[in-house]
Symmetry: C2
Subunit: 200 residues, 2 copies
């Protein structure tokens, strides 16, 4: 692949092993061939991927959750989100997590973007979706999951982001998407929910 | 702390141990007391923290780097960034990483925000800084580090972010900050570099 444009940057796997199979985290250490022909090791988390949902209420407010995140020792405001189950498609995961964490189901969905939140040491992708036409229902939290549901205006979210009130990356990026979409700069393709909620 | 407002969300450490001390990654498993009095375990990476720099050229373009990220198997565009050395302050790290990765030194700095990029399983903070008054110099890459330096306009970055060309979270968040600052919505406090470069 000598004519590959990124040959001066790309690292190739030549071996490796699993360092840790925790109940939750899987850590790999791979041996890689560097662009200059030398070798190095790369340690990283193998992650199944995750989704985050930007849920838009008909009155213009946005649904968020507030939860304690143990690794940072802090309660933070976030968009509803969660990891993909084995074999689960991102949109199916988005529908499930929105309903479980907030009780809301949506009539329409739009994919925004795929982001990598820790590309130096995790394979994680987060797929961001917008949801609208929301119909309230009952929260069904996982065992050991505790969170508050919030409804904030775009201006309230923007004020949080201007200070230190919005440290979560997927939530800042969702707000950016929302503002660029409202400005007419970035486009969303809406699609109907495959099993839309009734409003009766 | 029964009168703590977040008592219904907060998890408290009651024990724990180190699961892995890799050459690069440190993984902990802590036992925690949940808000309802039950217990659970939390696995996470202990991370020293990192910085990212949004370097503004006098002609309005922005300096970025392009590098291969092994865990995601992809070459991506990012703001210059790196991990804190032991005992290193974030601004000192920002000055060092900007110079090492791009060769540029800056006359002025402004802190933007602290973000958490993987709060579910990493203690990592990334501190974002703006840099301006840039003076070019020589790149000094770490052993095993390979990257291209790019100079893009804000409009070029925005076009990347509208599609799938900007998956890196700190870079999307830096672009958001730049746009909100240019719009006059979010404020930056500039401070002189403690050892500014000469332009002679």
């Amino acid at each position: 692949m000598a004519d590959e444009p990124d040959a001066h940057l790309v690292e190739r796997r030549v071996g490796g092993r699993t360092l840790l199979e925790g109940g939750f985290l899987e850590v790999r250490r791979d041996d890689v061939l560097l662009p200059d022909g030398s070798t190095a090791t790369r340690e990283y988390i193998r992650h199944p991927g995750a989704v985050a949902v930007i849920p838009l209420l008909d009155d213009g407010r946005i649904v968020l959750v507030r939860q304690f995140r143990y690794p940072i020792g802090r309660t933070i405001v976030e968009f509803p989100a969660g990891k993909l189950d084995a074999g689960e498609a991102p949109l199916a995961c988005a529908r499930r997590e929105l309903a479980e964490e907030t009780g809301y189901r949506a009539r329409e969905w739009a994919f925004a973007c795929e982001i990598h939140n820790a590309a130096a040491y995790s394979s994680e992708s987060i797929w961001l979706y917008f949801a609208r036409g929301l119909v309230a229902g009952e929260q069904r939290l996982d065992v050991g999951e505790f969170l508050d549901v919030l409804r904030l205006s775009e201006a309230e979210l923007d004020a949080l982001a201007a200070g230190d009130g919005l440290p979560d990356v997927k939530t800042r990026i969702g707000l950016h998407w929302l503002q660029r979409w409202h400005a007419g700069a970035w486009a969303l393709q809406w699609q109907p929910d495959p099993d839309p909620p009734s409003t009766l």
